[in-house]
């Protein structure tokens, strides 16, 4: 079973994502701020990380750059969730190696499809 980490500081959003991905059959870990997420990433290996950009303490970009600079973990796909469509943030995210960007508001079913694709690609790689 593939393992996914969700980092999101909005409780409701986190819950919705958690429920959805569990229903899709993943093993799901959650973190409600960037710091928790970092600790979990350091301890475990994930098949995919879904993280919000704006979070207290450690933002999504910092998590992204940590993962992508780690020789082992860098193969983990990272999906960023962003509320603001600032072009430079998106560019910076792709430059740092993010696999995909999701803008709020988004379609939950579409997200589920995107995640499935990234997890699959990763497993074949």
């Amino acid at each position: 079973m593939s393992r996914i980490l969700i980092a999101e500081d909005e409780v409701l959003m986190l819950k919705a994502l958690e429920f959805k991905l569990k229903k899709d059959g993943y093993q799901v870990d959650v973190a409600s701020d960037g710091k928790q997420a970092m600790e979990k990433i350091k301890q475990n290996t994930y098949d995919l990380i879904l993280t919000d950009i704006m979070m207290p303490f450690v933002g999504g970009m910092e998590i992204l750059s940590y993962v992508k600079n780690d020789p082992v973990k860098k193969i983990t796909p990272v999906l960023l969730i962003s509320a603001v469509g600032l072009e430079d943030v998106v560019l910076e995210g792709f430059r740092l190696g993010a696999e995909d960007f999701i803008y709020k508001p988004f379609n939950l079913n579409e997200l589920s499809v995107r995640i499935r694709r990234h997890v699959k690609q990763n497993n074949f790689a």
């Binding site: 207290p56 303490f57 603001v84």
Partner: protein
């Protein structure tokens, strides 16, 4: 002689009584005004979402000016937290005021600084600027560092004003813990007042014993040491009750040097910060206000009661004493420099109410208190005291001050409720009982000392060294401050 002393005693009792009544009346009036203002502010702001302005290209540009003098222990961390505030359009200007330690080198190394060909436009005079530096790394593009010859805090801020590129300037103490949304909240009045806003000021809260992680406040605690705890009470009273009321009257005279947002053009028009006073923060506001009156321009000085800035209060009595000594001298200097405002109708509220209030309550009150106490002792020694009557008078003042502090705590409870733990609340209420007996006499003593120093020419700054917040990644603020 005896007869005279007896008459004098009656007169003295009456004088004390009416003076106390007058002072208490003023406080009640201020408390009422502030309750009205506070209520309005809370109501209005519960419907405001700051999300829009955060990302908006229309947000007014802000330059943060932070002078640094011998801050090598904390400067790197402080700058980092200033760079991570939530606001779209701002720059951070750090002014190294000729530090004697490694402050500059620390910044230079960590932020990969390099000198740029900056042509400084000396719009207000300041000591020589040795160089302006920017980071080589694009992620620190918001940072500008100014290296200059030492000239004191006012001079450093003036240098910062000359280098800054935005229309609003946020002057702060570099070692404060600034809440992430501070600029948003301070900038908002500039976008909504009918009249031109020349300055907005924020609350200063006390960070001792609070939990700080990575330059951010994560848990508010009551200081364990008793002296900072009294200051918590004192600050709540001053900020939530005092300044809120003055803001209502548009008669605010002081914006704390630890955090104030100013309209740069007006600051430059009045000539910037005054080098010659130790109370430069108050003096600037008074000068800006009188300038606006002289130009017949309508204006507002606004005050934001949200807890935006947390600072470490001195826990050591000697350092605290020096700080209060300096505040007293600053007040006196400002009042003397602008003495023509006194009951001058040309200056509206400023001349008719704010100035006299500061004169009587901030400068003269401790002196009157001290004189009263001295006379009381003389009368007591010569046996001309009706102990019962005097005790009742003293009790009145005591219980009034306890009640007033309790009202302040109530304000805090009904607004921001920072002290969520029940235990902390009880501690605060107990402090209200002890304060008039333990802390207040000290503040009077320091104020008197400040007066004496002022008029005997001992005008020193009083060095205030702090222990860093952030030598370790997670640190709890200690109550001990080193000298």
């Amino acid at each position: 002689m005896d007869e005279f002393l007896a008459t004098f005693e009656t007169f003295f009792n009456n004088a004390v009584f009416y003076y106390a009544l007058f002072v208490m009346g003023s406080y009640v009036a201020l408390a009422l005004l502030s309750a009205v203002e506070m209520n309005g502010y809370m109501k209005k702001n519960s419907y405001v979402s700051y999300r829009e302005i955060l990302v908006s290209p229309l947000a007014p540009p802000v330059s943060i000016l932070a002078p640094a003098y011998n801050e090598e222990a904390t400067i790197v961390e402080n700058i980092r937290s200033l760079l991570s505030l939530h606001y779209g359009n701002y720059e951070v200007v750090i002014i190294n005021d000729g530090s004697k330690d490694n402050t500059f080198q620390k910044m230079f190394d960590f932020y990969h600084l390099e000198r740029v060909d900056f042509a400084v436009d000396y719009q207000i005079p300041c000591n020589e600027i040795r160089g302006v530096y920017k980071s080589k790394l694009p992620s620190f593009a918001k940072l500008t560092v100014v290296d200059k010859v030492n000239g004191g805090k006012s001079d450093a801020l003036n240098a910062g004003i000359n280098v800054s590129s935005k229309g609003l300037i946020l002057c702060i103490d570099v070692d404060c813990i600034v809440q992430e949304d501070a600029i948003l909240k301070l900038a908002k009045p500039y976008l909504e007042e009918k009249h031109m806003v020349i300055a907005t000021g924020g609350v200063v809260r006390i960070a001792n014993s609070c939990k700080v992680e990575d330059g951010k406040l994560v848990e508010v605690n009551m200081p364990r040491n008793i002296w900072p705890r009294f200051q918590v009470l004192e600050y709540i009273r001053a900020f939530l009750m005092g300044r809120m009321a003055w803001s209502r009257l548009n008669g605010l005279l002081i914006i704390s040097g630890a955090m104030g947002l100013f309209d740069k053009r007006t600051v430059i028009e009045v000539g910037g910060y005054d080098h010659s006073t130790v109370g430069e923060d108050m003096e600037l506001v008074v000068r800006m206000r009188r300038y606006m009156h002289e130009q017949d321009r309508r204006y507002a000085v606004v005050y934001i009661p949200d807890p935006l800035c947390w600072t470490e209060a001195p826990a050591d009595l000697q350092i605290l004493g020096r700080q209060r000594n300096r505040w007293t001298r600053g007040t006196i200097e400002t009042l003397l420099k602008h003495k023509d405002l006194f009951f001058n109708p040309r200056y509206g509220i400023l001349g008719m109410l704010s100035y006299p209030y500061w004169l009587f309550f901030e400068w003269l009150a401790p002196i009157i208190e001290f004189l009263g106490l001295s006379i009381f002792i003389i009368l007591a020694v010569t046996g001309h005291i009706n102990w019962e009557f005097s005790s009742i008078l003293i009790c009145m003042v005591y219980f009034f001050s306890v009640a007033l502090s309790t009202v302040a705590v109530l304000f805090e409870e009904m607004s921001y409720q920072q002290y969520t733990k029940g235990k902390d609340l009880v501690k605060l209420l107990i402090a209200a009982f002890l304060e008039p007996l333990l802390y207040h006499p000290l503040t009077v003593y320091w104020a008197i000392k400040g007066n004496i120093h002022k008029f005997t020419g001992k005008n020193t700054w009083g060095v205030m060294t702090r222990k860093g917040f952030s030598n370790t990644k997670t640190s709890e603020l200690t109550d001990q401050t080193t000298t």
